[in-house]
């Protein structure tokens, strides 16, 4: 099932310049793995070597922090929207 993943600007260049990409899967982790397969340069920025999210990058599924709703195991539905927010420190 297709979902959309919105990338921060800094990662868009690793996905052919796209800010929003489509990914398929039945779980959030599956969709992230699908996106990583299609944009290999993105992979190390989305997950660690074991395929888990980093503690300094937060995933929001339909604006909810996924850590409180099943993490990467959370089921996804057609049309879900995922937003990836990395920690930044500039001021």
């Amino acid at each position: 099932m297709p979902i959309t993943i919105t990338l921060p600007n800094v990662l868009a260049k690793l996905a052919d310049g796209q800010r929003t990409i489509t990914a398929y899967g039945t779980t959030l982790g599956g969709a992230v793995a699908d996106a990583s397969r299609r944009y290999p340069a993105l992979k190390p920025r989305l997950t660690d070597d074991a395929g888990n999210p980093y503690p300094f990058v937060t995933y929001y599924l339909n604006d909810e922090d996924i850590r409180f709703s099943g993490g990467f195991a959370a089921a996804i539905r057609d049309g879900d929207e995922v937003t990836i927010v990395p920690a930044v420190a500039g001021g």
């Binding site: 921060p8 600007n9 800094v10 800010r19 980093y54 503690p55 300094f56 937060t58 929001y60 604006d63 909810e64 922090d65 850590r67 409180f68 937003t83 927010v85 990395p86 920690a87 930044v88 420190a89 500039g90 001021g91």
Partner: protein, 382 residues
Amino acid sequence: MTATLTELPELTREELARYSRHLILPDVGVEGQKRLKAARVLLVGAGGLGSPLALYLSAAGVGTLGIVDFDKVDVTNLQRQVVHGTADVGRSKIDSAAERIYDINPYVNVERFETRLTSENALEIIREFDIVVDGTDNFATRYLVNDACVILGKPNVYGSIFRFEGQASVLATPEGPCYRCLFREPPPPGLVPSCAEGGVLGVLPGLVGTIQATETIKLILGIGEPLIGRLLLVDALTAQFRTVKIRRDPTCPACGTHEIQELIDYDAFCGGAEPVTVKEITPRELAQKLARGDDFDLIDVREPIEWEIAHIEGARLVPLSTFPAAIKELDSSREIVVQCKVGGRSARAADALIAAGFRNVTNLAGGITRWSDDVDPTIPKY
């Protein structure tokens, strides 16, 4: 902020005139303006975010503004740090900001803390204020500000920027999440470039800092819906503002389990694993090496856009962003000196080269910036 009406300071005739547009706002009025006058707000950082904060909070009549900063105004700050002017280059940021604040509003009291915020002084400084506004430029100070705010029960008006995007929230309130709920751990050093290395759109701290100023005023007045439990994401390129929900994490070591009872070593916390120690060469030593005609490759790992601004004669551009593929083009049997703007990215490049089997790799200490200081002043700094 909890002062009762009778404890609030009076407004003079001049202040009543100055704040007239606030006084006629139903949600502010004389009482709200007195609350602003009674408020004590600490700005951590007088840079990009601190600039609009200082300007708007002083103009709004916040009675006491504390400012923590140890830096001096540099010409490269002026593209975004609008509290400082060209004539201020070389002055302490605190003195420059205080002068501008007093010009905007002489009724504001500025308390100056010309120091780096550290685990030793943070509680003592923050304790004396009602609200803390985080306008720092590094992860270590952000975690320090967060933990100190949680320990002392002070709201932390958070803002952060990078390139074209920003984030803002109100953290560490009694009911809401803290910075550690949002990002449990910092990224490893070097993964996220600083604004000095990655760049930042000059107007972006204006956008985000003004949002922080707005949230600060809302907290003081007790009006509206503060960004508690929400993270505002600002994207200057798409002109989109959106919020996502953030929650207090019951396992958060700061505000959840409260296992953090005192401040820690934040440089170590943000330093991660000890990096591989790479040999360093000073700019003067490199200049001698080049003058002798030593046989080695000088590799500049910055981006092409930086190369165009300035580069060292004899260097070859191999951007770090093109690693690891570009490593295959380099000869691992040769001596290599890597170089970037200030030495951070080239240290990572050196680590990557050593991991790829290169044996003779040296990093230029201080990068092209120190090269400009120590060897060739005709090289522009940026």
